[in-house]
Each structure stands twice: as C-alpha cells, then as structure tokens.
Symmetry: C2
Subunit: 413 residues, 2 copies
C-alpha cells in the first residue's frame, strides 16, 4: 500500500509518456520546485490507514431538512471526513470532524491552478435499515486516476471506502429513509501548497462532505430537451476530459447558460468536423435505434477514447444491457456516432429512445435535440416521459442500489 | 459602469454563441440554479468603486526577506486587496486588509468546479523612488475575459488598477529597490457560492496578493532546453486555452514533470497532426529564423487562434519588434509554424534564435528543443546564453518597466 501512490503516479505518467530519448541533457536550472525528493521519499510514505481514524462529534447537531425541501448539494450533514497529505509524510491521520470551513492561505494552489478533483456517489437506506453504497470501488478507481493526472496523491481505494463507511455511520440520521432519496457523498481532493510557483503540490487535503438529496424526478420522469453545441468544445484527444477534474466544469457553464436561455435543459457536446455525439452537460448519453444496416435494435454510447467521462452509471447501464438486453435481441455498442446519423435515424423512423446516464438521475430521458436549426425527435410519444429501456434501467439500478436485488455492486456499510 | 458586467458577460457569450434558433421550447424543469434573476438584476448592481476603499492596517508587520533569499511566490506582503461580489448586489466595498487565510465552506464551488482565474503583473521601483505598473490595462482586459468565460463577474478595469495602486502604496516597503527586482502581483477571482449544483456562481471574491521577487536570471541569462510534447495537448479550438484560468494549469504538470525527468526545463506544446508550435509551459514562444522563401529575417510567434494565451509580454515583444526591428529589415509574423519546419531551419543553418516570453523572465532564451529523438539546435553559440533579439527585448522592456524610458506602457502608481 505504501508504494501504491508511487505506482499510480507512475502509471498515470506511463499513460502519457513517450519512449525516453537517449539525448538526455543535464538540468541547467530548476524552474519548478524540486520534485525528485518526493519520488525518492515515496517508499517511506504513510498510506491511508482507517485503523487510525479519529472522530470528533459536533456539539451543535443540525436540524434535519424535511425531505420535500431537499435541494441537491445545498444542505450538509453534521460532519465531514478530512485527511491531510504531505509529500514528506504521506497520508496523515484520517479524521471525522464537525462540518466546518476550510481555512486556506490565499496563495494556496487550489485557488490558482485548479489542483482539484472529485467524485459523486450516494449512500442508500435498504429495507432492513442498513446503509449501502453503489460500486464505491469504481469511484475510488476514478478518483485515483483523476488525482494522479494532476500530480495530486493517490491512495488505497478500499481504505477510503471503509472511512467513508464510518463517516456515513456517524451521520446516519441524515440518510433519508425513502425510495428515491439518498445521501449524496462528495469526496474531493485539493492541492494545499502555499506557493504561486507552478509545480506538483507538496501537500493536499482529501475531504468528504455529504448532502441529503431527493429523487431527481419527484413526480416521475420528465423528458428533457438538449441543444447540440458545435461552437465550443468540452474535451479533446490528449486532454483531460475523461477525468473528474474541477477543470472540466467551469468552462462548461456558458454553453449551458446559452442552451438554457433558449429553453433547453442541457447542452449536448459534439466533437470534431464529424460532429460526433460525446456527452451531455453532466451525463453520458445513450441512443437506442434500429441499425440501418443490420435492422437490429442497437444501444449506443460514445467509446472511452479519452474525451468521455468514465461514468459509473454509464458502465452499469452497459453491463446490465449486455446481461439483460442482449438476450432480447439488442446489440450493445460503445462506438462513435455522428449527430447527423442520429438525425437521420429520427427522420427514417428508426429512433427508439435517447437517455442520459449519471449518478444524479440514474437515467434522464431525452425528448428531442436541437441540431442545426431543426429539432431531432428522440422517439417518445407526446404523452410519454420515458422510453422502455430508460425505465428498465432505472428500476434495475435502483433495485440494486436500495438492496432489493442482491448484487455484488451493492456495498453494505 | 453598472451595466458593464452585464455587457461583458453578454459579449463573452456572443463570442461563443451561434445564431438563435426559431425552435425555442419552454423549459420543463430548471436543472441548474435560476440565473435569470441575476441577469434581470444586473442593471441595479453596484460597480467596483475605488472611492469606497477601506484600509485596515496589520498590527503585526512582517520582516522583509533579504533580496537574495526571495523565491517566486513564496513570501507575501503584509496586506491583501479583497473585494466580494454577489449576484444580487454587485461589487461590495473594496478592502485592504491584513494578509490572511480565506475561510470557505467545503462545498464552495471554487474547490469543485474550478471557478477561478488570475493575472500575473508586477510593480517596479523607478530611479525616482516612484512605483510603476506595466500595461495594467492589458491584465485587466484579460482578467475580465477570463472571468466572463467561466460565468464569474466582470469589473471596471480602471477601477481595479486604481485599487491595486493603493494596495501597492500600502505595501510599498516590500517592493525591492534594485534592478531586476519587483513586486509580483496576483489578482485572483474565485467563485464562492456554497452549493454543489453546477451553475454560474452567485457570489465571488476578487483578491490581490503580492510577493516580492528577484530577477529570473540573477547571474545573467541562462539558456534553457525544451522538450516538444506530442502525447498530450494543452488547448483546443473552441476550448479555453486563451484564457488565464486555473483550469489550464493543473493538467500541464505531468507533461512538465516528464520533461523535467529527462533534464528539460520546460515542455513545448505541439498541436495537431501538423505539430504546430504553440507555446511553452508558462510562456509564449518566439522563433527567429531566415525565411526559406524570402531569405529575410523573420520573427515568428503563434497566432491568437484561441489555443494561445494572450501574453502581455508576447504583445509587447510584437509591438517593439514591429517598431524597432522592422526598420532593420526584419519581418514580424504571427503565424502557424510546424515543428518540422523549425527543425529544418536549424538543419539548414537558417535558425537565428528562439526565446520564450512571459511576465516572470520577460524573455527566456532557448538553447535547444528535443523533438522526435533529435535535438534541434536553436542557434546559440556554445558559450552564449542569449541571442541578440532576446537581449534587446529584455533591455527595451525593462527600460520601460523601470521608467528609464518614458513610455505610455508604464503606469505610475
């Protein structure tokens, strides 16, 4: 475990690197802070250790917000999980402490160079009063990838999952015990080094906060409308669009506001001259259509080519589709599809349904997509708010999340 | 001034937007926080008002760091400039306060979605003991563009320049009075809204901190070696690479560490199949060569196509070159150039010199560039650390910055 951080950092570099050249030259001046020391010390660094957890309970417990007044990410529980990391020592003592402000020097690198990454996951109450997480290993894996990509530390995913379990137990009373409700968990890693020099942070803070949330569609599904964005680009090959970095979010707000100003709920990011369909504002996208060549029903989502966020719900939808829809005659494809081909499928009556997939709503049915001045109809009947596949997926995934179905994806705290 | 913010936000959108479609549909559900209210209230918002400045002096003044111990961005002055903004009120009272930590809720959007942008500028002591800024209007212009691009507020640039002037006066004793030394200023804007919902921040903080810095090359120029990066991409057309956003920095660290591990001071970002030369880690790049077709001396830098940071030093070098080098027979070009063409110029003995340009070092001569396993020689003799143009530029620009030459670019505080 001690060398995991080192290994993962190396792995992240390996994914980026090209073969070393023979023409290596000596450094004439170190422009950035010396990072060699960090690498050398890595083998003595402390790993994340749940057995060292210290818990300080709040003396001023909050009142619970009534379920019907919950707004996503607006109210938080009594406590937070907080773990410091330094390049010299590794991971410090994990602490559960009263929810509190972070006090940071204004030169801290998180404010200037976006040394920040995060995860979104949920804790659910099952019918026995137990608490469950959904595929937390996927979140831990992704947070490690995100963190390593911006030179922040990595950690033992199982250790953090255990610690999150303890945190969730401490704030158990905040998990709403009703179908569709859950406790949204936000693991976050930030660089905390106090210097304006642009280099790998010598210190970091990993914290987890929790917000009780209600169902995305309290009164049942509501199909949304998307605007295809061709004037701005979210991600590109060789970039960081596949990582859950803060850096991927702020630049997306204006195109989203533009779409909203014309009445669309989200924008759909197209890529390149081919106008490939990539993903929606905060979700991956699935398109179900009748394939022009084969005539078979095909469920399509963009492949993980480095420009697509590796959504946990995306992966879950794909797995369940391969297990449960293929026997019904479906083809499941991770492939590029051009927006023009989506429009053509709609025109030719081959469109079955379209939906977004993400942690917030699980699935989010799409009614239509504005593209080049036309509305592409996504196959729903006028009085219909969700297609068959979207409905099935929501029920299957929720069934696992709330423990109705016994499944290895469900992690009992 | 009151509606400037609104106008600039609009302008930022206009730069991004495509023609409005006739197929506007009503919103079925507001996924994000309501931003319509913000726009409606914009006309009543307060502008940034230097006449309202309040100053609270520190009771514990710091000791000055000796000039020879100054490290870039490591020590800071006694005070900071701090101005809050809210969507409902606009800009609050500007305050100069003792340098202090920021206390922020862990759900604050700057930690999660990289709502942050910044500037780098310097204050210089002239030979009369006066204090000067260098082209502050350019920094204000760029900060407004950066801020608007991530849905943060804009401001009256002249007002902020005045306030920075007052701040610099308060911390005057920290400006080292020696050639090559200066007070580095870091205006920073962060989103401060306390919610995990992804949307335009309803509140922000604009702060300026100051760090006394020494000359980049204390013992004279030292030419650097670059590694051309072809496996990772810094910016993309339609992206935000031309803005000074935090989001552009964290993702650049790993390629920089990779280059450093092989002994190179910085990496050089190439773009696309053509491997166009774009910019260096934290600088724009200039290439001086004999043009193959015309035989004329040509000074080349990448054009502002949306992937290149609009460097103030870049602009200054171009202006001075057009004014002072063109009469000497130089051609000055903002044009794309392929790395292969740079290598060819070197092989054919047409390379004159290469240098980076940025606020930190003004110019930074380049000895060679590692590219496809070969070292591209950039024209310096073995015992030479800077070319003629780099030297001239440094002297010209420093002469203006320190007020030796009377020039409209120099702003007396």
């Amino acid at each position: 475990m001690k060398s995991l951080q080192q290994l993962t950092r190396r792995a992240a570099l390996a994914g980026l690197t090209r073969p070393r050249l023979s023409s290596q030259i000596p450094s004439t001046r170190s422009w950035q802070r010396n990072f060699g020391a960090t690498a050398a010390a890595a083998s003595q660094l402390l790993g994340l250790d749940p057995s060292k957890l210290s818990i300080t309970k709040t003396s001023t417990p909050k009142e619970l917000t009534p379920n019907n007044e919950l707004v996503f990410g607006r109210t938080f529980t009594d406590h937070m999980l907080s773990i410091e990391w330094t390049a010299t020592d590794g991971w410090h003592t994990p602490r559960i402490i009263p929810y509190q402000n972070l006090s940071l020097d204004p030169s801290t690198c998180v404010f200037h160079y976006a040394f920040e990454c995060f995860e979104g996951m949920k804790a659910y109450k099952d019918h026995n009063g137990g608490t469950r997480l959904f595929r937390p290993n996927k979140n831990m894996e992704r947070l490690n990838k995100s963190s390593a990509r911006i030179a922040l530390p990595t950690f033992d995913g199982e250790a953090l999952t255990k610690l999150i379990g303890e945190f969730v137990k401490v704030d158990d009373r905040f998990i709403p015990d009703a179908r569709g409700y859950s406790l949204y968990l936000r693991p976050t890693m930030i660089g905390t080094q106090k210097t304006l020099g642009v280099g790998p942070p010598g210190s970091a803070l990993l914290f987890v906060i929790a917000s009780p949330v209600g169902p995305y569609y309290p009164t049942g599904f509501k199909a949304i409308s998307l605007e295809a964005t061709d004037y701005a680009v979210r991600a590109w090959p060789g970039g960081v669009g596949d990582k859950k970095l803060g850096a991927n979010y702020a630049p997306c707000i204006l195109p989203q506001l533009e779409a909203a100003s014309r009445g669309f709920q989200q924008n759909l990011w197209l890529f390149g001259e081919e106008e490939y369909v990539t993903e929606v504002g905060t979700m991956n996208l699935f398109i179900a259509l009748k394939n022009k060549e084969t005539g078979k029903k095909e469920l399509i989502t963009a492949p993980l080519d480095g420009t697509i966020l590796e959504g946990v719900t995306r992966d879950s939808v794909l797995s369940l589709a391969r297990e449960r829809l293929v026997p019904e005659g479906w083809e499941i494809s991770e492939r590029k599809i051009r927006m023009a081909d989506v429009a053509e499928a709609a025109e030719e009556g081959r469109m079955i349904e379209v939906f977004g997939a993400g942690t917030a709503a699980i699935v989010s049915p799409v009614r239509n997509i504005s593209y080049r001045g036309k509305m592409v109809d996504c196959g729903l009947k006028e009085n219909e708010e969700a297609g068959e596949i979207a409905l099935k997926m929501k029920n299957w995934i929720e069934g696992i999340q709330y423990g109705d179905e016994d499944h290895p994806w469900s992690y009992v705290v």
